[in-house]
């Protein structure tokens, strides 16, 4: 991509920048140049311009002039963080976000926050402020710039740990250099006006040597001028100014698992800054690259640093590093390749030439920069003997010793049965065993023991270490060599087996999880399975948070309720942060690392749908690269399952809505049908009679008139039912109870049905001396009428209907039996549900209200209703009512 064409991304960025909040950085070469002073002066100017400005943090270090500048500025109170019993003052990030000023002053960008703060570093606080739309004024010393870190430590001999990533500095819209001449600075130092936390006394004086200061000033000036250069290029692009444009440079840097890669990366960044070039960090995955824990950790650290330095990360497979690098360089038009070159050659490279040599040999037209390695780095990796190979199990030691003794005794007892060579062979057995069981150390020790035993017992002169014949020496050497080789091979094999097992465990964990999560239809069940599986895989307690109805995060599941992550309020707050920001937080992350759990947001393409939390023990957090990786994979699986579940829940919800719509329609249809049928009889009969009286016979006229009255009664019953239902629903139905005879109630109820019952045989049997019932008269008649109506509707014309009443203790039961089809057992409870019949139509029209009204009325009266099979077919509805309390003297 040539930079002389107006780049659409640049245009986009420009549009964003115009609305974006601004980060202004006051940059100094070293402490004491007056950055805070300059910043506060600018702050005053802004306030005078009417900008809503507050001070979030300012370090005055007790300088009077600086303190005086704080006057007239709004200073937010500091937050106090409790760390191991000591109260540490920190900037109140939450307070600033709540206050939401237009501009906030935050001194010391490179500051590291006290453990327990939300973010590890202050620049992350600033990032959050910028994201919240608050502009920031901040200060920074050049030594804290990530890519200049090495250069600074080479100049001054002091390693600065608090670095700020270059990618963050790139965000600064304005970098203002605060600079004073070196001699003035030294004078200020002598006046005690310079403060540097790490250094005091003589050390401080050493740091402030004119040479150092000049070098730092040069670094700072160069950095600013480079930034201005870049801004100029951007400006010209923004304003589409054509002209002579420098060819764009591209720096390719190789990253690998070497701890020394950090320096190579920083060098590449510096080079790129000078050239105003972009950086491509390439990681070549060679087949040789064994997935050693340490290598992977180093690699991921290097990749992370490359990201922080604003490099584009390219990961590609390749058989040969040199070849792949050259290919990539030509593909991407890289003009510079930066390579690290270790001080110590690998054995193999003596024959093939080092990567650097081969890249040099192959590349054309590309500048190659080689960064020499330095010996001071800790030697890690291959040379360290694994602790595990030094640990012997007692049982193995015993077996080896027994074997050695057994072979020695066997050889001695059998005399000349085994030749000397045979004996040497036999002694190899324990060596092989040791190698296979315990690795290199054990096999070497065993082979030495074997050689000694062989020498003493079977090599003349016997019982001494001397050897009669020189050719035994060869045997000894071969023996030891065999010991070493078996040990090495067995050890390597064991390692591979262990790694394969670990990989298999990981795969099986993911497989089990996704398998378990496939058929889940319930959120809490899903969360429960996730926490169980995750804690099994990671070996520590886990929790799942899911937003509830009010979008508040609810703890959905925890496999160990006693674990801190399950009950601690602070832990919950971390989970909430992770959820709201859709970023991981907590233990082992950059945000709120003081928490005991790590919280990973469960993100889909559209939204964050929950948080997975896992408690990590102290040591786990930093070194558990593998656990983190596994956790991320698990998170993916869980997110997938959760997403699927949410989708199906939404579907279910839609279906429920449809169902309820269907019910509403069914209710309306049935009520309209129930109302219009009697209305039709009335209107039809009346209109038939109107003006046509001569057409009909006396008998026909009577029938038409009866039809009118039946229709009116039926409508009345329905209207009553609807009103009752409305009253029951609103809770305003209050029975007025008194004592009544069941006979009376039945008489009134059956009178309504005189027409319908004309061709039915109705038998009413009441127990003699049946006590009165304590009920509401009208409501109970309504119940009886509904049951009689049902008995008529659901049984064939001409069949019998039976009503019987009998008392039992203080209860009186009244049964209504018909000879209809009866009610299947599965429906015996359900038919009392409102509208049940509408959803399960059985052929007879109705509103589906009658029985549910009966049930509700009886419940209000303290009675009950049930349905039984009538002996000989049909059904029998049994109503139970309370008997009226006996009145003295009457009974």
């Amino acid at each position: 991509m040539d930079s002389h064409r107006p780049d659409p991304e640049v245009i986009l960025d420009r549009l964003k920048a115009e609305q974006k909040t601004r980060l202004t950085m006051f940059l100094g070469a070293c402490p004491g140049v007056g950055k805070t002073f300059a910043m506060l002066q600018s702050a005053h100017e802004r306030v005078e311009e009417g900008v809503d400005l507050v001070i979030g943090w300012a370090d005055t270090h007790g300088r009077k002039e600086t303190i005086a500048l704080l006057d007239g500025l709004e200073y937010l109170p500091r937050d106090k963080v409790n760390y191991k019993g000591i109260l540490i003052e920190e900037m109140d990030l939450e307070g600033i976000l709540a206050r939401k000023p237009a501009l906030v002053v935050v001194d010391e960008l490179a500051h590291t926050n006290a453990p327990g703060s939300r973010h590890k570093r202050r620049y992350q606080d600033v990032e959050e402020l910028l994201d919240a739309g608050i502009s920031v004024y901040t200060t920074l010393n050049i030594q804290h710039l990530e890519s200049l870190n090495d250069a600074v430590s080479q100049i001054t001999g002091i390693t600065v740990r608090e670095t700020v990533p270059d990618s963050f500095i790139e965000r600064a819209d304005l970098v203002q250099l605060v600079d004073i001449p070196v001699d003035v600075l030294i004078k200020r130092l002598n006046e005690g006006k310079v403060y540097m936390p790490q250094l005091a006394g003589e050390a401080l004086r050493n740091f402030f040597r004119p040479g150092n200061l000049n070098a730092l000033r040069e670094l700072a000036l160069r950095f600013v001028s480079q930034k201005v250069d870049r801004e100029l290029v951007e400006y010209r692009q923004r304003h589409d100014i054509e002209g002579t444009w420098p060819a764009a440079d591209r720096v390719l840097v190789c990253i690998g698992p070497s701890p020394f890669g950090i320096r190579v990366l920083r060098a590449a960044r510096r080079l790129a800054d000078t050239l105003n070039a972009e950086v491509i960090a390439a990681h070549i995955e060679t087949p040789r690259f064994e997935a050693r824990q340490e290598d992977r950790e180093n690699l991921s650290a290097n990749v992370k640093l490359a990201e922080e330095l604003g490099a584009e990360i390219v990961s590609l497979p390749g058989k040969d590093v040199a070849e792949a690098v050259v290919e990539l360089a030509s593909e991407r038009n890289a003009t510079h390749i930066v390579l690290g070159h270790p001080r110590h050659h690998k054995l193999k490279e003596i024959a093939t030439g080092s990567v650097v040599d081969r890249v040099l040999a192959r590349s054309k037209g590309v500048s190659i920069h080689v960064i020499p390695g330095d010996g001071s780095l800790p030697q890690t990796g291959r040379k360290r003997i694994r602790l595990s190979s030094l640990v012997f199990r007692p049982s193995d030691v015993a077996v080896i010793l027994v074997l050695l003794i057994f072979i020695t005794v066997l050889g001695k007892i059998t005399g000349k049965f085994f030749s000397t060579t045979d004996m040497a062979m036999l002694y190899l057995l324990p060596v092989l065993y040791a190698g296979a069981r315990s690795g290199i150390v054990a096999s070497v020790i065993t082979s030495v023991l074997g050689v000694l035993a062989f020498d003493i017992f079977f090599v003349p002169p016997y019982y001494s270490l001397g050897v009669a014949s020189l050719h035994y020496i060869t045997t000894f050497v071969v023996f030891i060599a065999v010991g070493i080789t078996t040990g090495l091979i067995a050890g390597r094999l064991k390692e591979q087996v262990a790694e394969t097992n670990a990989a298999m465990t990981k795969t099986s964990v993911l497989y089990d999880l996704s398998k378990d999560l496939t058929a889940i239809s319930d959120m809490s069940e899903l969360a429960r399975i996730v926490v169980v599986q995750v804690s099994k895989a990671i070996g520590s307690p886990a929790v799942v948070y899911v937003p509830g109805v009010d979008n508040e995060l609810d703890l959905m599941a925890a496999n160990d309720p006693a674990a801190r992550i399950a009950f601690d309020k602070n832990e919950r707050a971390v989970a909430v942060w992770a959820f709201e920001h859709s970023q991981e937080a907590g233990n082992g992350t950059e945000t709120l690392p003081g928490a005991s759990g790590i919280y990973l947001p469960l993100k889909t393409e559209v939204a964050t749908i929950g948080v997975l939390g896992v408690e990590l023990s102290e040591g786990d957090a930093r070194r558990s690269f593998e656990k983190r990786e596994l956790l991320e994979r698990i998170t993916d699986v869980v997110t997938l399952a959760l997403n699927k579940l949410l989708f199906s829940l939404a579907e279910q919800h839609m279906k429920n809505l449809e169902d309820s719509e269907q019910l509403v329609r069914a209710v309306f249809d049935s009520i309209s049908h129930e109302l219009k049928t009697p209305l039709s009889s009335i209107v039809g009969s009346v209109s038939a009679l109107e003006g046509n009286e001569h057409v009909f016979t006396e008998e026909q006229r009577a029938e038409l008139l009866a039809s009118i009255s039946t229709g009116a009664t039926r409508m009345n019953r329905l209207v009553n039912n609807l009103l009752d239902m409305a009253r029951l629903e609103s809770g305003s139905l209050r029975p007025r109870e008194d004592s009544y005879d069941v006979q009376d109630l039945l008489g009134v109820a059956t009178a309504e049905f005189s027409d319908e019952l004309a061709n039915r045989k109705l038998s009413i049997n009441t127990e003699e001396s049946l006590p009165p019932v304590h009920v509401d008269f009208d409501l109970t008649v309504r119940v009886f009428a509904n049951l009689i109506d049902n008995a008529i509707k659901y049984s064939p014309d001409g069949s019998d209907i039976g009503i019987a009443a009998l008392s039992q203790d203080d209860r009186i039961s009244v049964s209504f039996s018909d000879e209809g089809p009866g009610i299947p057992d599965s429906d015996k409870e359900l038919i009392f549900d409102k509208f049940y019949r509408l959803l399960n139509p059985g052929g007879v029209a109705g509103t589906g209200l009658g029985l549910s009204i009966c049930k509700s009325i009886l419940k209000a009266e303290g009675g009950s209703i049930r349905v039984e099979d009538r002996p000989g077919g049909g059904s029998s509805f049994v109503v139970t009512l309370s008997a009226a309390p006996a009145v003295a003297g009457l009974r």
Binding site: F668, D669, S672, H673, K676, T677, P678, L679, S680, S681, I682, V683, G684, S685, S687, A688, N692, V695, F696, T697, Q700, E703, L704, S707, T710, G711, R714, P841, G842, G843, V844, A845
Partner: protein, 234 residues
């Protein structure tokens, strides 16, 4: 009343409501019809086949089967006029049964006179099928042979489509024609969805035939269902 053609006509009432059956039985026999009753679709189909009714009155809310099934079943072997008698809630079913071959509908609750008029129109319609080329409704005359339309003696000039549309309505005077039926018979089966098309032509016809198109006397709207030309005898 032209009782001659109606007296003794046999009417089959298919309705699960006893009250309605009883009412229709009493009222229709009073007017000299012979009434047969069926309580559900199955019995209705059996009686339609064995009792040879002249008109079938069919309720749509039957317990055992959909009214549509009953209509389709009857139409497989009989052209007997079918009048749908139903409450408004069965609107969709009403249209589909009309499209399936039912001849007319009456909404519950109904006036007996209205039902009687529909029954008569249905009986006459089936008797006149393939009959006279001259149809007269009020002042409106149509001569199917001469392709000529007159309103109170004055010729009305119609486009071929307008004429075809009016012809369909006149030939079925007294009975409802659904949108689909009109579209199919005038424009062919491909146009059955274009109700807007039909509305435009009805509007044009009304402009030419009606003295007040907003209070039509000839082309009556059956809301949601279609159009109807009133009975010639009214």
């Amino acid at each position: 009343l032209s009782k001659a053609s109606e007296s003794g006509a046999r009417i089959l009432v298919i309705d699960d409501e006893k009250e309605i059956r009883k009412l229709l039985n009493v009222a229709l026999s009073g007017h000299g019809f012979e009434v047969r009753e069926a309580v559900d679709g199955r019995e209705g189909l059996r009686r339609a086949a064995t009792d040879a009714p002249d008109v079938v009155i069919l309720d749509l809310g039957l317990p055992d089967m959909e009214g549509l099934e009953v209509v389709k079943s009857i139409r497989q072997w009989s052209r007997v006029p079918i009048i749908i008698l139903s409450v408004r809630e069965y609107e969709d079913q009403k249209i589909s049964t009309l499209d399936a071959g039912a001849n007319d509908y009456v909404t519950k609750p109904f006036k007996m006179g209205e039902l009687m008029a529909r029954i008569r129109a249905a009986i006459r319609g089936s008797a006149a099928a393939g009959g006279t080329p001259l149809i007269e409704v009020g002042d409106l005359n149509i001569d199917l042979l001469a392709h000529r339309t007159t309103l109170a003696g004055t010729e009305v000039r119609l486009t071929p489509t307008e004429y075809e549309l009016l012809k369909q309505l006149m030939m079925n005077a007294g009975m409802v024609l659904t949108h689909k039926q009109l579209l199919t018979s005038v424009w062919g089966p491909d146009y059955t969805r274009d109700k807007q098309h039909l509305r435009v032509y009805i509007w044009q016809l009304r402009k030419k035939l009606e003295s007040d198109p907003s209070q039509p006397r000839y082309i009556l709207t059956e809301p949601g269902v279609g159009y109807r030309m009133p009975s010639p005898d009214r």
